[in-house]
Structures are given as structure tokens and as C-alpha cells.
């Protein structure tokens, strides 16, 4: 089968690989019909996540058709079209039982700090991902959800990560009616978090980024305010001024390790890898918050350390909430929201690229070429 093949920082290609096999009675094999490149894939692509092995296939946002099931699988059958959450969850451990499907304790041997994730390095379990024609899906009765009849596959593929992560970013913000929510990052997650913040009753939603085309998009898509930090002397002073010198009630970090905007963070976090990525968004968020405010982090960072103003967290009484999205927990509600038109994910997809051109797709997304917001890879059998 064709599969993306990681060869080193900023080097990927398409190769022939053996088709995956059932290795566990609860496995399924899925023929991929859509697979996105996620902003967090760029951390892998840039070589910033430890234990990213050459030869691995990335991709944790995919949908497809079940072609084979293991002997213990009861809820799926061959031919089902499924949404596959990016987290691999057993459904049995104490954490899954409490709804923490992103923190499963039976899916990642290599690290206890994160559950298994498809195609996301050995630090997230060493599973090959969905940027391929076929993928092995463990615990097939737990995560995968049959796509409702009539749902657009472009909407469905964004329910694997983008929509739940954006929604949970707003949910973790504990937004109360009338709250001012400031979101750092106008990528797909930031855009979705802006849209979802209104669902929780936000009074004002402000998105900050530096890419004009994305700011224009989020302004229209999420009916929010959007500002370019490169046109500000200081984004924190900007937030203070625009909130009558109080600060935001809720800040959301929807950027993660690839953040720009602070030279020291960029050099130490992205160039020298002395930090687990650049923590610029967290830094700005902590300092932009009102005293007693809430910081919600969904931006992805590496497993080591970051320079953040923790003293200000203490002195301002800030509550920090963060997690990988619990996709399985949120899917029923979010499928309803998509079907009822409350959330319309499809417009986020700007590029539909043949799987064979995966290297170009990564480069376009990484360098923000051609006004790219979200690229989706389409294997030959789905075209």
C-alpha cells in the first residue's frame, strides 16, 4: 500500500509499505478515505518530538471503511464507514472509565504522560498513522464511531480532532455568559475554539495571530474580532487596553510548540530545542489574563520543559486547564452539532491533495503557502 514515510526533519515521502494486519482481537483494519495533516504533525515534521523514528507513517486525523475486524470486535462490521478519534483508548482503565479517553493507560507503553495516538511518534505509542491507504485501529469497539448517513466526509474527518479539540478548548475555559475570551492562534483549532466559545455564552471573542488570511477567515467564519500581533507594540498591553485594563476572563492557547512572536522563545524553543517548543502563546496568555482568570491549553508541546511565567500564574490566581481532547466523550454531542448546523467544519479545508503528493502538502502547510488553513490527503481509492 501507499503510505507516508518520515525520513527526517522536513523530509517525508510516499512509499510502498506492507498492509497492516490484525495483531490483537480488538483490532480493525480501516481503508482510509480522508486523512488530514494536523498542526501538531508539524512538530513531528520539524523533528521536535523525541522518539520520532525514521520510517514511521504519521496521521492521526482520518476516516475510512472497515475492511477487517478482530475476533473480539462486536460493534463494527466490515463495510462500516467510521470516524476514528485520534486517541487510542481501551475503555476499561480507570482513566477511560472517567471519560479521560485521551489519557488511556493501556495504549502507550513508551510514556505514561500521554495515551496512545495514531501516527504520533513512539512517545505516543509507536502506531503507524492514517496518512496511508490502510491503517490498523486498536480497540475498535471503543473509539471508532460509524459516520451517520448523509454526513459529508469532509465534516466527518474534522470530527476526529479539530472540532473536538476546539470545542474542548472552550469547554476547559469554563466560559461564563459575557466573558471575554482571547484565543492565541488562528489555525484550525483556534478557529474552531472561537466558534465554540460563543456556544458557551462568551460576550466577546478575540483571536490573535499574524497571518492576515487566517485572521480574515476567522473574522468571517466565527463572527469574532481578529487582530494581527505584528501590528501591535505588545499583544498583552493590547488585550489589557481593549478590556478596560482588566485583562481577559479566559485565554486559550491554540498554537503550541511552533509559536512565533518572541525571539528568545523561538531561538531556545524551536531552533536550539532547549525547550519543548516555543511557549510564546502560554507566556502571552498568562500575562493577558484577568486576575483569577482561566487559561485553557490545547496547543501541543514536547515532553520536556518550557519557560513560562509561573510566578504570574501564582500571583494572579490563574487556573490552568489542559488536556488532549477526549474525542470519544465529545463525539455524540458534536455529531449532533454538525448535523444540526450549529458547527460547520468543512470550510476549514482549503487544500485537497492526493496522498502521493504528501511531501508538497506538508511543505505548503508548514510554510503557510497558498493561504493554506487545513490540508486533507486523499488516497487513490477514494478519489
Amino acid at each position: 500500500m501507499l503510505a507516508m514515510n518520515y525520513r527526517g526533519p522536513q523530509r517525508v515521502r510516499i512509499d510502498e509499505k506492507p498492509e497492516p494486519k490484525i495483531l490483537h482481537p480488538q483490532d480493525a483494519i480501516v481503508r482510509v478515505t480522508r486523512s488530514c495533516i494536523c498542526g501538531s504533525d508539524l512538530h513531528l515534521y520539524n523533528g521536535n518530538v523525541p522518539d520520532t523514528r525514521v520510517g514511521m507513517t504519521f496521521g492521526h486525523e482520518f476516516i475510512g471503511e472497515v475492511t477487517e475486524i478482530g475476533s473480539e470486535v462486536q460493534k463494527l462490521k466490515v463495510g462500516d464507514m467510521v470516524i476514528v478519534p485520534f486517541n487510542i483508548a481501551c475503555g476499561k482503565c480507570h482513566f477511560c472509565k472517567q471519560g479521560l479517553f485521551g489519557n488511556c493507560h493501556e495504549s502507550n507503553s513508551q510514556a505514561t504522560a500521554v495515551g496512545g495516538i495514531f501516527g504520533y511518534s513512539h512517545t505516543a505509542g509507536g502506531y503507524d498513522g492514517g496518512q496511508a491507504e490502510y491503517v490498523r485501529v486498536p480497540y475498535a469497539d471503543v473509539g471508532p464511531t460509524v459516520i451517520p448517513p448523509g454526513m459529508d466526509p469532509d465534516d466527518a474527518v474534522l470530527l476526529t480532532d479539530v472540532v473536538p479539540t476546539g470545542y474542548q478548548a472552550a469547554e476547559m475555559g469554563g466560559i461564563q455568559k459575557g466573558d471575554t475570551v482571547v484565543i492565541f492562534g488562528a489555525g484550525p483549532i483556534g478557529i474552531m475554539a472561537a466558534r465554540c466559545s460563543w456556544l458557551f455564552g462568551a460576550g466577546r471573542v478575540i483571536v490573535i495571530d499574524k497571518l492576515e488570511y487566517r485572521l480574515e477567515f476567522v473574522r468571517n467564519y466565527a463572527n469574532c474580532e481578529a487582530y494581527n500581533y505584528e501590528e501591535m507594540d505588545d499583544p498583552v498591553v493590547f488585550v489589557k487596553k481593549t478590556t478596560d485594563w482588566m485583562g481577559a476572563d479566559v485565554c486559550i492557547d491554540a498554537v503550541g510548540a511552533e509559536a512565533s512572536g518572541n525571539l528568545m522563545q523561538t531561538i531556545t524553543g524551536r531552533k536550539l530545542l532547549l525547550q519543548a517548543g516555543s511557549a510564546t502563546a502560554v507566556h502571552w496568555a498568562v500575562n493577558s489574563l484577568k486576575k483569577g482568570g482561566i487559561l485553557s491549553i490545547v496547543g501541543v508541546y514536547g515532553p520536556t520543559d518550557n519557560l513560562v511565567p509561573i510566578g504570574n500564574v501564582v500571583n494572579k490566581g490563574i487556573t490552568i486547564r489542559a488536556n488532549q481532547a477526549s474525542v470519544k466523550r465529545l463525539l455524540p454531542k458534536l455529531i449532533d452539532h454538525v448535523q444540526n448546523g450549529v458547527i460547520n467544519p468543512k470550510p476549514l479545508i482549503t487544500h485537497r491533495v492526493p496522498l502521493e503528493d504528501v511531501a508538497d502538502a506538508y511543505h505548503i502547510f508548514s510554510e503557510k503557502l497558498d493561504n493554506c488553513i487545513k490540508p486533507v490527503l486523499i488516497p487513490p481509492s477514494a478519489r
Partner: protein, 162 residues
């Protein structure tokens, strides 16, 4: 679910008098059961056959019931990874060697390509075709700088000493 109290604290005066189960900042991300207070006690899923080398964190006692089988450790990078996994996720001796192993693995990948008779097409792998289509001036600038640096290096290295 109501919080469980695993032990009898009756000997501690006023134990828990101000407890407020509704003051749970983790809700709704976590539907609290406190089952983890019972330790690693759940009915584990069937264990996937362990017929490849799987490195596991020393912060857990075992390999998880399922695991990924992509690219088991091998070669020099594999030796470095095995060293890294002797140290916990709390230690730089875990993460920094893993980053080093990743870089060594890149060189191993190039050697493996050549050994298999494949010459890696670095330009295609870096997606420069997309640059040609969407960022032509940037690509020309990049190639120009690369050519200048290479020329300067060659001149410096081949310069005859007076």
C-alpha cells in the same frame, strides 16, 4: 458517582467536614469515580502478543495491552533508545538521548536508502515542488543562498596557502 472513602478516618477529628464534591475543577473533563485510588486494578484487555522489542517507560510495570509495531529499535539509534528507556520520563537522560537517537536515525535512514539502491530525492522529500508553484521567489532566494554558501566553502577549502 459519589466519592469513595477507602479508609476509616474516624480517628481524625473533623476529617472532611468542609469537603464539597461539587467543587470539582476537573468536571466535565473527568467524571470522577476515584477508582484510581484502588491502584492498577482494572480488568485489563487481552495482551497483544509481544513478538517485537517494545521499549516501555520505567514509570509503568508492563507493556500496555496494545502497542504500536512501527519501526522497532535497531542499529546505533536503537542502542541509544534502549539507554534512554533506562531513565524515567522525569529525567533529561530519557529525552535528550531520544532526540539524539532521532538524529542518528536520519543518517541510518540515508544509509539504508543507498544500501537498498535508492537515492533519496531530497528536493522532492522537502516539498520544494510546492515552493516552485506557490513561492517561486522564495525558492530562488533559498537556492541562491545555498549556492553562495557552497561556493564560498569550496573557495575557502581549496585556497592555496601563500
Amino acid at each position: 458517582m459519589e466519592n469513595k472513602t477507602p479508609k476509616d478516618y474516624s480517628h481524625i477529628k473533623n476529617w472532611g467536614i468542609d469537603a464539597d464534591p461539587k467543587n470539582d475543577p476537573t468536571y466535565p473533563m473527568k467524571h470522577r469515580t476515584d477508582a484510581e485510588q484502588e491502584g492498577y486494578s482494572w480488568d485489563r484487555p487481552t495482551q497483544q502478543d509481544i513478538n517485537i522489542e517494545v521499549l516501555h517507560s520505567n514509570e509503568r510495570p508492563n507493556v500496555t495491552a496494545v502497542f504500536g509495531t512501527s519501526m522497532p529499535p535497531s542499529g546505533l539509534s536503537g542502542m541509544i533508545r534502549r539507554f534512554a528507556f533506562k531513565h524515567s520520563e522525569n529525567s533529561y537522560l530519557h529525552w535528550l538521548p531520544l532526540l539524539m537517537a532521532d538524529r542518528v536515525n536520519v543518517v541510518e535512514g540515508v544509509i539504508e536508502d543507498f544500501a537498498g539502491g535508492k537515492v533519496p530525492n531530497i528536493f522532492a522529500e522537502k516539498g520544494w515542488k510546492a515552493d516552485w508553484e506557490h513561492n517561486r521567489s522564495g525558492l530562488i532566494q533559498k537556492v541562491g543562498v545555498l549556492a553562495l554558501v557552497t561556493t564560498a566553502a569550496v573557495v575557502l577549502l581549496t585556497r592555496k596557502k601563500d
